[in-house]
Structure formats: C-alpha cells, structure tokens
Amino acid sequence: MIQIENLHKKFGKNQVLSHLDLRIDEGGIFAVLGPNGSGKTTLIKSILGMVVPNKGNLSVLGASIRKNWKYRQEIDYLPQIANFPGNLKVKELIRMIKDLRQKPSNEQELITLLGLEPFLDKKLGTLSGGTKQKVNIVLTFMFDSPLIILDEPTTGLDPASLLKLKDLIQKEKSKGKTILITTHIMQFVEEMADEIVYLLEGNIYFKGTIDELMAKTEQNDFEHAIAAISTHTTNA
C-alpha cells in the first residue's frame, strides 16, 4: 500500500526525517506514534505530498508520488487542525469537496450519525471546535477510498462522538481498508491499532503489534510500554 525508501527531510537546519524506510501493507489500522517533534506529521504530510522530501522514494498504491497528484484521489485525509474558510456554510463546504473530488459519497448518512443537521446552514467560522471536527470527519469518511489517514482524529470530540468515530473506523477497517492514525491518546491506540509505528528522531524506532511491543519492553501494560520505549531511548 505504502512504500517508503530512504526518506530524508530537512526544515532549515533541522533534520526531521533521515534514512526512513517504511512499508505498510494493505488492510488494518496503523498507529503512528512518537514524542513531540519526532516527525509524525512530517511523515504523514510526505505521504500526502504536502511536504516535498529532500531525498528518497515514496510510492502509494504502487506508483511513485513524485510530480503526481492524482493518487490523492485514493486517500481520505483528516487534518489535525480543523479550520475551514470561515465564510462558507457547512453545506457548501461539503458540496465543494464533493465537487472537487468528483466521487460518489455518503455524506447524508454521516451527517445524521454525527447529528450535524442543525449546523448545515451555519457558517464554518461560527462553529465550535468539536463541531468543526465533526465536519472534518464527515469530509474524510464520506468517500470510499482504500487509504485513510487520520491526524489526531479525537481532538475536541465528546465521548459519544468518540464512540461513533471508533465505530466508523472499525467499519472502514472491516472493508479491508488501510488506516493510518496519529494520536496521543494511548487508550485509543490500544483499542484500535493492529500495528504500531514508533517514530523517534526522524526514524522508525519500532514497528510491530502491541503484543510485540509489550514483549520487547517487558511491560504488561501498553501505556507503560510506550513510556518505557521513550525512557529507554533517553537512557540510551
């Protein structure tokens, strides 16, 4: 599904990603974890083509993404900060994204699910953070694409909506899709992720299942395992 070889990215003097190799196979939920500034967002943005790598090859669905933009047709992306053009109404934003992607969509179902009907005629600028995130979720899940990338999907969501989000993700997974998630909520990872990609100082420090991680760190609780991974490295 995603194939990354020898990826380098520098922002000014700051080497964010170096010699990064990663292979993500089709199907399943992958959690991209790591401390702040480890390059999670950069990695995701590289996959999306928003960040241009200095070196290395990146291919999605078997095709190199260099000078290519059509492959994004196959990706649904939920950005971290859900800020939209303030003058647009929710309805218009959804219509616009549909217009831009020209793909079949099931936004009505999602709107009902998340209870967004009352907000459809409101301008995005007037919405609360949580509601914006719901709109964000609608925009992401309304298309049927084989790859879904979620950057901090839980931000601002109330518990009920969080549950609905989890259901949504599981449903997509059951269709055999590949889902990439970054988050800081360990409970969420533990519950959802099939595999963990742990990033540290611009490289993959660990890739495997939760069980493998616990075995490696000799911890029997996920949160401690993650903590141990970090301390382990700081000690090292």
């Binding site: 990215k9 922002f11 943005k45 999306l48 083509g49 928003m50 960040v51 241009v52 933009w69 059509k70 492959y71 994004r72 047709q73 990706i75 992306y77 950005p79 900060i81 800020n83 939209f84 053009p85 003058n87 647009l88 616009m96 994204i97 217009d99 831009l100 992607r101």
Partner: protein, 260 residues
C-alpha cells in the same frame, strides 16, 4: 484551477473586505464627481489616486487573504488537486474579485454621471486597464511574499515595505540619480528605470494620455521616439504584462516546492 478560482471568488464575494473595497471605490467615485462636477477632471484625479492606492490595497489584501486561507489551502492540498492550480486558483480569485470591485466601484458612479456620452471614456478605460494590471501585479507580488514568509507579521511588513519602496522610495532614488548624473545623457536610463517599477510603468501610460504635450518638450531623440510614437505605449504595456506574468510564474514554481 477553475474550480478553486470559483470557490475563492465566491468566498471573497461574501467576505466583508470585498465590500469595503467596493464601497470605498464607489464612495471615491461619487465624491470626486460631486466635488468636481466634471468627468475629465475626476478621471485625472482618480488616475493620480489609483496608481498609488490600487497597489497598496492589492498588496495588503493579497497578503491578508493568503495568510487567512492557510487552513483552506491545507484542506485543498490533501485533495487530488495540482498544487499550482490551488495557488493560481486562489490568486485569480483574489485578483479577480479586487478587479471587479474596482471596475464596478468606479464604473457605477461614472456611468451614472454620463460616461458614455463623454469624451473622457478613453481616459477612463485606460484608468481601468491600468488599475486591473496593478491589481494583478501587486496581488501576485503579495502572494509571493506571503508564500516565502511563514511569519505573518514579517510577511505583512515586507509587503508594505515593497509597496512603499515602489510607490515612493524608488522615485526618490530615481530622481536623485538623475540629478547627480545630470551631465550625462540620461534619456535611455530614465526610460529604462521606469520599466523596472510597475507603478512607474502605469504612470507612464497615464502620462502618455494626459501629458503628452509636456513629454514632447524634451529634446532627446530616444524620448521622442518613445513618447512621440506608439513605441512607448507598446513597451509599457508589454512590460506590464511581463510584470504580471513573472510573479505568477514564480508563484506556481515556488508553490510546487513548498512544504506545508
């Protein structure tokens, strides 16, 4: 690109600022006509105002829009869209709505005052063409500055400085160099110097229309062929096109290589 243009344009058409800009020009047009009672005089006053004000407004508006629509841009970047279309679409959206505000804002009062029956119509059309060019150029320059500066305050500062430089300081340096080197033949230099500043270029176009009598008072042969024939008009228009195309091209080029 056309879709982005459409959405940026709609977005702007709904924003308060487009109306402020539109109403400002409307008011300017009416006030000038009310004070002068004379179309030709109002057009001349407007020309003086336009070559300074349009660049300023376009610059500020362009920078502001670029920074304000950062999230929108990021949303679009994740969509299956070409990068250059995203930025060019936004650029044309802004420049288009600014131009429309200018044309409507000034056009309505002048048409109500009987522009079509007046012989000032050519001057007025020139005014609008110049205004449109300046809008395109300065919006593009503003977008370039904003694209190259992540820091809003810095970007804003550079943009205003650029305006100040091109609108005032450039001419000051220009005048100084003409006076310092007055013993040397300067006509080619002075004509060349006007082409390196889009505001001066637009000024030249206006001079050709309003002050041709004075321009022909200078003895230099180069001046004579520049202002006396259509050469000046074509060169100025050509350079204005170049001034429009180059920043747009850079915008497309830079946007392809930028990280978000």
């Amino acid at each position: 690109m056309l879709k982005i243009l459409k959405y940026s344009f709609y977005d702007l058409m709904r924003s308060r600022w487009s109306y402020v800009y539109f109403l400002f020009y409307l008011a300017l047009g009416f006030v000038l006509l009310f004070l002068n009672h004379d179309l030709s005089k109002a057009v001349i006053t407007l020309m003086n105002v336009i070559i300074v004000l349009v660049p300023l407004i376009s610059t500020i508006f362009g920078v502001m829009y670029f920074y304000n629509s950062k999230e929108f841009t990021e949303l679009l970047l994740a969509q299956p869209l070409k990068r250059s279309s995203i930025f060019l679409g936004q650029y044309y959206g802004v420049a288009g709505s600014l131009t429309l505000s200018l044309i409507l804002g000034l056009g309505i009062p002048f048409i109500l005052y009987g522009l079509f029956q007046s012989d000032a119509i050519w001057d007025f059309s020139l005014l609008l063409v110049t205004g449109a060019f300046l809008t395109l150029i300065f919006t593009a320059l503003a977008f370039n500055i904003a694209l190259s500066n992540e820091n809003k305050i810095k970007g804003f500062g550079y943009a205003v400085l650029m305006w100040l430089f091109l609108a005032v300081i450039y001419d000051g340096l220009f005048l100084l160099s003409l006076i310092i080197f007055e013993e040397y033949p300067l006509d080619s230099f002075s004509l060349a110097a006007t082409t390196f500043n889009p505001i001066d270029l637009s000024r030249t176009l206006i001079l050709l229309k309003l002050d041709i009598s004075a321009l022909l008072g200078y003895t230099g042969a180069v001046f004579k062929s520049y202002f006396g024939t259509n050469l000046g008009l074509f060169i100025s228009l050509g350079m204005l096109v170049l001034w429009t195309v180059l920043p747009i091209w850079r915008l497309a080029y830079k946007s392809k290589r930028k990280d978000f």
